[in-house]
């Protein structure tokens, strides 16, 4: 048996080491965010947000098409992904028999684990190739595929938190099942479903890989869903790979916009659901 002081020393040093690990990870986040903030803010201006890109050397270049493009892509993805995800989740929570539900959940969770680049390849084969051209629509569809399983599973979880007495109450008042599901159960869980949906939006807003060969990219303003479209993430990738100093600083500024948006959503959701986390 080792001496007690040795064991106590061991115990305190492990505590120290784990605290250091936590500090390192938090430090890493501060380092990355700090660098993005410090580098991005110098380029950031109103003009940067509302101007179109200009050729190298010309002042007043902006990323407006990328911002608009990202919003269009997110809108398409949400228009498809949200209803499918929410109603699919509703089926899982309200109707699925245990064995069939398990099988469905297994496949849905598998979809969550599919690397996003593979979703891009898939959408290319079923949409871009038959249609013969890249389009905002196909980009939106690939984001929707990433979004659906996330929304479905959070919706399911949220619906399960709704007490059965509410269901029984609705039925006892003579409401049909569809009325009970949509008007009572889903409404009671609306807050949770909405936060899940917001997190899903934050997730797809940062996706690049599935857009590479679906939405492609383009350098000027477009809102047409049948044509290629720019996105913040693709624009950052494009600028980062370029040899120009000027584009590099634009990449940092675009990153600042993107990351503020994504972390903003995450933090807002957190604040809204704080009570649930504090148990």
């Amino acid at each position: 048996m080792r001496s007690l002081w040795f064991r106590k020393l061991m115990s305190s040093s492990i505590t120290l080491v784990t605290s250091v690990a936590a500090c390192v990870v938090i430090g890493m986040l501060i380092l990355i965010l700090g660098y993005i903030g410090a580098t991005g803010v110098s380029e950031l201006s109103i003009g940067f947000l509302i101007n179109e890109p200009k050729p190298i050397g010309e002042p007043g270049s902006g990323i407006a098409p990328a911002i608009v493009g990202s919003l269009v892509l997110i809108a398409i993805a949400s228009a498809i992904g949200m209803p499918v995800g929410i109603l699919g989740g509703l089926y899982l929570a309200e109707f699925a028999s245990s064995r069939f539900g398990t099988a469905l959940r297994f496949l849905i969770d598998t979809l969550t684990g599919v690397p996003s680049i593979i979703v891009g390849v898939f959408v290319w084969t079923v949409m871009v190739k038959p249609m013969g051209h890249f389009s905002a629509l196909s980009g939106g569809v690939s984001l929707a595929i990433i979004m659906m399983p996330i929304v479905a599973r959070t919706t399911e979880e949220m619906l399960r938190l709704v007490p059965d007495s509410m269901r029984e109450g609705a039925l006892a008042l003579g409401a049909p099942v569809w009325r009970m599901s949509l008007g009572v159960v889903l409404r009671a869980a609306a807050g949770g479903v909405a936060t899940g949906a917001m997190l899903a939006i934050a997730r797809i807003a940062g996706e690049t890989a599935p857009l590479l060969f679906t939405a492609l990219n383009r350098n000027y303003m477009s809102t047409s869903i049948s044509e290629p479209i720019a996105s913040l993430t693709n624009q950052i990738y494009y600028y980062a790979g370029s040899p120009y100093e000027e584009w590099h600083s634009m990449a940092w500024a675009a990153t600042l916009v993107l990351v503020s948006m994504i972390l903003g959503i995450n933090i807002v959701v957190r604040l809204l659901t704080r009570n649930r986390h504090q148990q």
Binding site: A21, L87, V177
Partner: protein, 328 residues
Amino acid sequence: MDQAVTNRKPAVTRRFFSALFGSLTPADWLFKQSTLLFALAIAGSVVLIVVEMARNSTLTFEKFGWSFITRSVWNPVTDDFGALPFVYGTAVSSLIGLLIAVPVSIGVAVFLVETAPRKLATPISFVVQLLAAIPSVVYGLWGIFVLAPLLRDHVYPAIQSKLGFLPLFQGNPNGLGMLTAGIILSIMVVPIITSVTTDVMRAVPSFQREASLALGATKWEATLIILQNARSGITGAVILGLGRAVGETMAVTMLIGNRPEISASLFDPSFTIASAIANEFTEATSEVYRHALVELGLILFVITFAINVVARFLVWTATRGQGKAAHA
């Protein structure tokens, strides 16, 4: 969910209805079936992904058969393709990522569960999760302009002067390569491993800790008991992290150097399956070339699928009975 059909229809009609719709009214039956359709659409996408990818990789499969996986040539000019360099690059970069991320993540998880007071643990675990919210392309950007120069100018020369005799650390480190990609992956998988490990540790009944403390164990010895109890779940967490690392695309594409060669040195550029697809798919001019890339994707799909199934099973067994679903 049962609801009797309460309308005053003749018995025959009622029997017909209940045979068709069960205990539901026609409107409710329709509602149920349409939500089922949506659930099936999500689940069916996975099946469709596999089918489509298989259909779009027939050319290379016919040409090379199973040897596609073990061939190490990648020559689009002569339409000669093999997956080995990419499988190798994917495996090694992910393993480097795990090698760094696993001890750190378990450290953080132990800190969160055993050391930090609850008031502190909650915000800290949220902050750690924010790392997962940062997009992959942002890690790539940061990697190119901050991490890679730092490693190239300071860290890699230092490693080389001490351990340069190992084949692992030979060659000319220019900052972009296997090791850099592995390091960025490690940062990216810390959140998932940490959060699942934390869940799994919390799922170990606290009497385990209390009993060891009562027998005179130090705090660390008690923690060790917890870790031992949670080991299958922690293995699941690590494998989940592996699944994340294997499928990571943008950051790796931007940092790994993108050369389809198998090299012993970790400083050399390499290629992963995901980064090969990201890089070359739009440039694939011939049909065979594109099929080769899709078949790479299919291999990646099978790998991540297997990894996720194993991981989810392990985590599910570890947290079962805690009323907590394991999130994959």
